[in-house]
Symmetry: C2
Subunit: 156 residues, 2 copies
């Protein structure tokens, strides 16, 4: 096989916050991430899709569930961000598929996403690197999602 | 220092495609990624922020520049995707900061984004993992962006 899946990890106790329609211009990503860092909140995923309208885009951050409130408060203190639309969800888990050559095997993410859809698990956010695909899903689905991926990719 | 930045990589010759407002329901991510995989196109970044409106969200993929056309054609062939709004850009580079403990140091992404904003480089997309932060930027800014990060994080 050209890819080796080395592990499936389920990280519970996550929360997500999504900043809706931030201006897509230099300085915004820094303005979002600095106050959260200054508040001492760990940030696991930072996910930003490219702008579709050429003016704004959304950003999603995942943080430990216990830090969600503090992260939102830190953002609200930023001048210009008082009216920022921030959507949050607390019952979130991060599910990751780690392996060598994941990038060179585009069928791997396709199969991962298909497997989750077949058991009705919605993928809230996606972030990939050369050796890992991570998704945010509802924590309530975490166990069955991890088991389904295990069956498909590790085979037991 | 609590973090060790092990490298800064600039990957030129990238292209991005953004699918605007896909339905945020199970099966969509698979329906996007499967045809592209079947067309033999390598997919480097898959980035999806969580839905802000609860119904739709955007997805951004980065592919080798030479494969952009083939990726778009593969998507257009999918039933239901003929009218899908797909924004593309060809003059894209991926800039990555790799290090140990990047996640546990939220100041690292904040500083990376700030450094880019200070030289006027717009961040089109962001994807993070435990040990790497990757952004998509205009290829024309790639060299100066990499040098700026090098100066700040590696110090020369
Ligand atoms: C949206 C945000 O990433 C913006 N493009 C920036 O460069 O900071
Ligand atoms: C948008 C897409 O990721 C969708 N939520 C899915 O699960 O496939």
């Amino acid at each position: 096989e050209e890819h080796i899946i080395s592990g499936i990890t389920l990280s519970r106790n996550e929360a997500k916050l999504t900043l809706a329609q931030v201006p897509d211009k230099p300085g915004i990503a820094a303005a979002v991430c600095q106050p959260i860092a200054d508040a001492g909140v760990q940030v696991d995923m930072i996910v930003q899709s490219a702008s579709a309208d050429g003016k704004t885009t959304d950003m999603t951050l995942s943080v430990p569930r216990g830090d969600l409130k503090r992260a939102v408060e830190a953002l609200r203190k930023v001048k210009d961000f008082e009216k920022l639309e921030i959507k949050t969800a607390e019952d979130i888990a991060k599910l990751s598929l780690a392996g060598i050559g994941v990038r060179n095997n585009p069928k791997v993410p396709a199969t991962m996403f298909k497997t989750l859809s077949e058991i009705g698990v919605n993928i809230h956010a996606i972030s990939t690197s050369e050796v890992r695909i991570s998704v945010l899903i509802d924590e309530a689905s975490g166990e069955k999602a991890a088991q389904a991926l295990h069956k498909v990719f590790i085979g037991e």
